[in-house]
Every structure is written in structure tokens, then in C-alpha cells.
Symmetry: C2
Subunit: 445 residues, 2 copies
């Protein structure tokens, strides 16, 4: 049997002071962004995953005085799985990663590498974008003595600017020399753009009596309405999992984690999540998410991915509130998802939350515009445990004072029951504040 532990909660000790001081999240010449008030207490202690090593360095792609390239090396024998944005204008690195993943048997006797740069998305950069990805892949392959087809790259940052690939290829041999199994936290920091804190999550479980670890990190705080995966996420485990089972479990968990969060309804061109399983834990390879071991692993993987996804919402650009939208009683799961997203993406709902206004009328509006089947007289709306509307009318127990007090909280629940069927959905979002506009009205200039 397998047990899931959330190491993060257990090991959290103190506010990550380094995150608070980090000036590296700003484009050169700008004032640093304040750490989100919703940031977790600390970055988790990232355990060593046997078979994975990290390094990060300062290449100066766009930012000054901060790390902006990370290299991860995954030992021979590992399986790898990936999910990518479904954007029609996806980046050169995403197109390359999808092609490489499709061509691989999924498990390599030669090992893999992941190279990520921040500051430039290498998106809408034509044929040069693709050749820059090839240059970076070849440089990493040469440094690690693996095939270039086993190197996955991601680029995140401004769209439409040529990537200074030479800055990255120059630093890769130095990073290869400095690879270290204990440097996951350093790697997590190098992939940040407008993030105000690095995002990591950890779980441990036992399979066949053997301890198994899962550790991952992610970035993202704007252009967040992932469609298949979020901005960037990298998850590592020492479990032995077959490539097919790994890919299936990654896809299923993505839908309930990265695909269930939205900051601003804008879907990135670079969304990528990669999951590598080194097999060093020594368990019999998990061949299906439906076996007892597979279910236990999928549950722990899901917890790590949901944790990372929620950290992205907690770092939503300008966010001051973390909001869970729970929809029940819809005619179908699809309808529930539509309603949840209509609420979570509504600028009027999000500004009301920013203003701590229990403006449930805007939730009625969002339900109405969602396109899902809805009946006014069967609809129930809750803020936390407070029923605000039911039976087509403001609830008899409605108290403006109670609701206003509830809205002052930092973590809010909006519950909507449609009273029509068994479809449910949960989506997480944040509020829409002045800081979102400050960050985005002059990001590029």
C-alpha cells in the first residue's frame, strides 16, 4: 500500500526571505514587483530525486543580475511525459518539444535534458525561432553527451523578439559542469518572469514498501488560462513508471490542476509541463494508473500538480485574493466547467472581489452568459457557507454585513449549485486589481 505525505506543509518553516528580496523578477530598469500577499509561507525543501541534477546561471537574455537559464539532467533509463499548450500560435520550443516527444519511445537509455530560459518566449520568431531551438538543443546535447533529440527546451518571456541563443549556448557547458542534485530551488528561481515567488511542491509515498519522491516546480503569473498545461512546470520522480502510464497520468492530473486555474483568461503560447520518472526508487514499473500502485502514484502526482497550479494563481498578476469557484448540480461536467470559467474570468466578478464587495448579482450574470443550461429558480449561490441566493431570489437568511465580512478574507469560496444534474467543476482564480494593469500596461516598454 502507498501513503501520500505533503512534505511541503510538514517542512515549511519560515517566509522565504530570498524571495522577498528578489529583484531578478523585473525586466531591466524596472522597480521590483512586491511579493504576492498570497505567497505560501515558504518554498518547500526540495528532496534529491535520484537521477536528476540541476544548474542555473545568468545568461543576460533580457534580465540583469539574476539567473535566467536552467538546465536539468535526467539520468539514462528514465521515462518522460509532456503536455503542451493547444494555442494555434505556439512557440518554437513547444513545436520542437511536441515533435521530439512524439518521436521518442518515451524512455531513453541515454537520458534527457531540459533547458529553460526566461525573458524571451522565442514565439512568432519564424524560421529563426526553430533554428535557435536547434542550436540550444545541440549545445546541451554536446555538454551532456546525449542526443539533441533528447533535449527539451522552453522559453518564456516577451513574444516576437529574436532570442539571443548564443548567450544560452555559451553558458550551457558551464551549467553542465555545475550540475547538482540539490539545486532544484535554484532552477525554480531561474525560470521566473513576472512571478513574485518561486513555486515548488513535493510529495512522498511508498510503493511496494519503497519510498518514492515526487518534486516539481513551475512558473506563471500572467497570461494564465492554460489549455492543456500551464506556463511552465517540471516534475521529477524516482518512481519507475512506464512511458504510456506516465503520459496518461500526467494528462489526467493536468485537467484537474493546471487546466483548472485562470488568472486572466489569456492562454500562453508557451505552456509546457514535463514529467520525468527516473525509476531509481526500484519499484516494479507502474504500467497503469488503475492499479493500486498507479492510483497511489497518480494521487500524489495530482497533489503536487494542484499545489503548483494554485501557487500560480496565488502569484496571479496583482492578486490579493485566492478564489475557488465550485460548481455543482450542472446538467453535465462540461456545463459545470463553462459556468465555473464564466465566473472565474468575469472582469466584473473579479473587480467586485478586489473591492471586497459581495456582489452576487454579477455571479448571476456570469451564470447567465456562460452558455450552460441554467434555471433561475433552481440556482443557489454561496460565499463560503453563507447562502446568498436561492429559489430565484435573495436568500431569506442573507445578511449584507456577514457577507461583507466574509469577503475581507484572503481565500474565498464561491459555490454555485445549478440544481439540474450531477455535473461538477472546480476552477481557481484571483481578483482583478490595479496592480494587474500596472504590470501589464507597460510590461514591454
Amino acid at each position: 500500500m502507498a501513503k501520500v505525505k505533503d512534505d511541503k506543509k510538514k517542512k515549511a518553516k519560515s517566509k522565504d526571505k530570498a524571495a522577498k528580496k528578489d529583484k531578478g523578477t523585473k525586466p531591466a530598469g524596472k522597480a521590483p514587483l512586491k511579493v504576492s500577499p498570497l505567497a505560501p509561507a515558504s518554498f518547500p525543501d526540495m528532496p534529491v530525486i535520484d537521477g536528476v541534477r540541476f544548474a542555473a546561471g545568468e545568461a543576460g537574455v533580457r534580465y540583469l543580475n539574476r539567473t535566467d537559464v536552467m538546465l536539468a539532467e535526467i539520468a539514462a533509463g528514465a521515462a518522460i511525459a509532456g503536455v503542451f499548450t493547444r494555442s494555434a500560435t505556439r512557440s518554437a520550443a513547444v513545436l520542437d518539444g511536441q515533435a521530439k516527444l512524439a518521436a521518442l519511445p518515451g524512455k531513453s537509455k541515454k537520458g534527457f535534458a531540459i533547458v529553460v530560459n526566461s525573458g524571451n518566449a522565442n514565439t512568432f520568431t519564424g524560421a529563426r525561432g526553430a533554428s535557435d531551438v536547434a542550436l540550444i538543443s545541440e549545445a546541451a546535447a554536446a555538454a551532456l553527451k546525449i542526443p539533441a533529440a533528447h533535449v527539451f527546451t522552453s522559453s518564456t518571456g516577451v513574444i516576437g523578439e529574436p532570442l539571443p541563443a548564443d548567450k544560452i549556448t555559451t553558458i550551457l557547458p558551464v551549467l553542465a559542469d555545475g550540475l547538482d542534485a540539490g539545486k532544484a530551488a535554484v532552477a525554480a528561481r531561474a525560470i521566473m518572469t513576472t512571478d513574485t515567488f518561486p513555486k515548488g511542491a513535493v510529495a512522498t509515498l511508498e510503493i511496494e514498501g519503497k519510498p518514492v519522491k515526487i518534486a516539481g516546480f513551475a512558473k506563471g503569473s500572467g497570461m494564465i488560462a492554460p489549455d492543456m498545461a500551464t506556463m511552465l512546470g517540471y516534475i521529477f520522480t524516482d518512481a519507475a513508471v512506464t512511458p504510456g502510464a506516465l503520459q496518461a497520468m500526467l494528462q489526467a492530473a493536468t485537467n484537474r490542476s493546471f487546466n483548472a486555474v485562470t488568472v486572466d483568461s489569456d492562454t500562453s503560447t508557451s505552456d509546457t509541463v514535463l514529467l520525468a520518472a527516473t525509476g531509481k526508487a526500484g519499484n516494479t514499473p507502474i504500467a497503469s494508473g488503475r492499479s493500486a500502485e498507479g492510483r497511489a502514484f497518480a494521487k500524489a502526482l495530482g497533489a503536487v500538480m494542484r499545489d503548483l497550479a494554485l501557487q500560480i494563481v496565488r502569484d496571479g498578476e496583482g492578486a490579493t485574493k485566492l478564489v475557488e469557484v465550485q460548481v455543482t448540480g450542472a446538467k453535465s461536467a462540461r456545463d459545470a466547467d463553462r459556468v465555473a470559467r464564466a465566473i472565474a474570468n468575469s472582469p466584473l466578478v473579479k473587480t467586485a472581489i478586489a473591492g471586497q464587495d459581495p456582489n452576487w448579482g454579477r455571479i448571476v450574470m456570469a451564470v447567465g452568459k456562460s452558455g450552460a443550461a441554467a434555471d433561475r429558480d433552481l440556482l443557489t449561490i454561496r460565499f463560503g457557507d453563507l447562502v446568498v441566493a436561492e429559489k430565484g431570489w435573495r436568500s431569506e437568511s442573507y445578511s449584507e454585513a456577514e457577507c461583507a465580512a466574509y469577503m475581507k478574507g484572503q481565500e474565498l469560496l464561491i459555490g454555485v449549485d445549478l440544481g439540474l444534474g450531477r455535473g461538477t467543476a472546480t476552477v481557481w482564480t484571483c481578483d482583478l486589481t490595479h496592480a494587474y494593469i500596472d504590470i501589464n500596461a507597460d510590461y514591454r516598454s
Copy 2:
């Protein structure tokens, strides 16, 4: 033959000073909103439409010291047409109006009335909402000696609060006594909520040598992503038009006017546009939009409705820029519409415009997330006449300085050609600024 003249442009004289001083647009106790910098130079001279009279008064529904109820009386023999929101949580007045319109032959020997209140949307107010509509309809019917089934009502303002219908029924006999064919401008002002200026538009044409007039007014500035019609619009003509042709022409023009604007992607529960044709111009009744007369009338009607729709965007909450998104070369009209709306509703595009940043990478992102067929290497993006991106790459002629200068304009054009087919769409929107958040973070409190 028929000629279309745009009276508004011809007769515009001076800034409407009354609008600038209007404190009535504010909920009680709030500072007045500044008039939008995109407001037209003046409210047009509204011509008398033979067979239509207006009145407005102060009922104190929610606002103090301003008119908040308007009454329009339409003479016996008129035809009437209407389009309404498709929201699943539409208001009591919309449900009532849809039922009445469906039950009418469309043309009445008894005439019609329209009653509109601002300050309260009478939405999500259960059975009481419907009975309040009935009370108001009956009061207007009694005052004007017409059947209650011929009275159309609209309510706009806060959602979920009971409507103080008695305040409206009390004032209706007074308004009936004060009806005046010259009071359209007064009526236009009474229906405003967060609008910073009243919105009117006029066209004249000749049919069979007879002068025909079309005059309309509208309100709306937030919760604007109309789906069938916008917030509220009322259009009057003295043309003779059969009910079927009137409804068909209204629906067609709605798709290219009110349904083609978006302020914040949020669809109102109260959207209603009514069009009344009194027939007093004496022309042979227009029985089809396809005849020469029908085409001329439809063109003039379309011009009035587009003018009103654009005024709503010009008064978009917090707007400082009016943006036309023109999509061409899509695989289908539906795909073109998807791309145009994805751009027009993207918070990242809208904040970049607010910041006067020619951030075309975000347009690439919005095209990618729209769900429409797109090929990076065939995509062309323009700001006005400046080609910024083509052939999967930043344009060779791209000049950051030129684009930045263009973005400082108050009226902007974003052109996207997908290079795939013949589908086109045009959508109008505005930028997303701090003022939108100021207005909406505490609208209700």
C-alpha cells in the same frame, strides 16, 4: 430612390455641457464619473418622430437628484420589433417583453408604450420581479389607455435587489401628462447608469420621395458583451414597415452593431433593443429588407445602430481608447469573429493598449487561443497602416518608434489577416484601465 444622411455629423454644434455637469450618473453618495474622453462632440439634435412622445422624471429608484424613469408613447398603427439578451438569467422585464412580443401581431391599432427605469435591474428577484413588471405595465396602460400587453418595460442597474415598483407606478400618471414629441434627449438621459454621456443617433432618408426619419438612443458602459442586443436601445422611425420586415431588419443590424461591441466580455441580463415604426411618413409599407426601399431603410437603420453601439464603447467603463479590430482572411466568418473577440476581450491586449504599448505579441497570443484555424506563417498583423508582423516574423519594416507614436492616438485599428480564406469580422472595444477597476470594485457598496 433613397438617400441616407447622418444628421448627427451635420448638426453637431458644441460639446454637450449638460453631460459634463451631470451628477445624476452616480449612485447616491458617490463622486460623479468624469465624462469619457472618447465622448462625441455633442448629443445629436433629435428630430420629432411623428407618432412618438417622451417624458422622464425623478422617481428615486436608487439615484438622487436625477431622472431615472422614462416613458415613451407610440401611436396606434405602429409596428414594433425587439431583440433581447440570450442570457440564461435574464431579467423579469426581458422575459415579459419577449412573451409580449411573441404574443403580439407586431402591429397595434392601440399603440404601444415603453417604460424604462435606471438604478435597479429587477433581475434575480423571483416571482416578485414578475409581479413588479405587471404592476408597472398596468400603471402605464391605465395612464395611456392601452392594453397592458402593449407596454414594454426595461430595468437597468443593480442585480438582485427588489425593485421599488411603487415609486415608478406613482410617477407614471405624471409622466403621461407631460408627454412631448420633443423630449427624446430627456428620455435618453433618464436611462443612464454608469454612462458618462447620453447616447443618441439620427438618420434621415427619402422613400418614394417622402422624407423618413430614424432616431434612437441607448445606454451602456459596463457589462457590455451583448449577445443579441446591448444593454438598452430604443429606436423610432416614422417609416411604414411591416412587422415581419421590421423584426428581420432589426435582427440583421443588431449583429453588425450592438452584437459587435465588447467592453468587458460580460453579457448583461437586461439587454434589450426595441424598434418602433409609426408609419406616419406615409410611404407604402416596406415589406422586405430586400426591396430597394427596404435596403435603403436597412442601411440607414444600420448606421443609427452602429453609431449607438460605438457610443457605448466610447463610454466603456474607464475607456481612453476606441479600438476597431478588423479580421480578414479567416477560414470562415465564425472563425473571424472568434479571433476578433479573442483580441477584443483579452485583458493583456487591453492593458497594453491602455499603456500605449504596441505589444503585438499579445495579439499573436489572442489569435492562438481563439480556437480558430490559424497558421503562424500566413498571419499578418497591422496597427493602422503599419504592418508589424508577417510571414511568421516581425515585419522587416517594423519600427518601434512609429508604432509607439501610432498607439498614442485615441482611435486605433488592429488589423489581422489570417491568410486562409474569405471570412471577415469587425468588433469594437476599448482599453482596460485603472478607472474600470475603480468603477467596478465598489459599484454596489
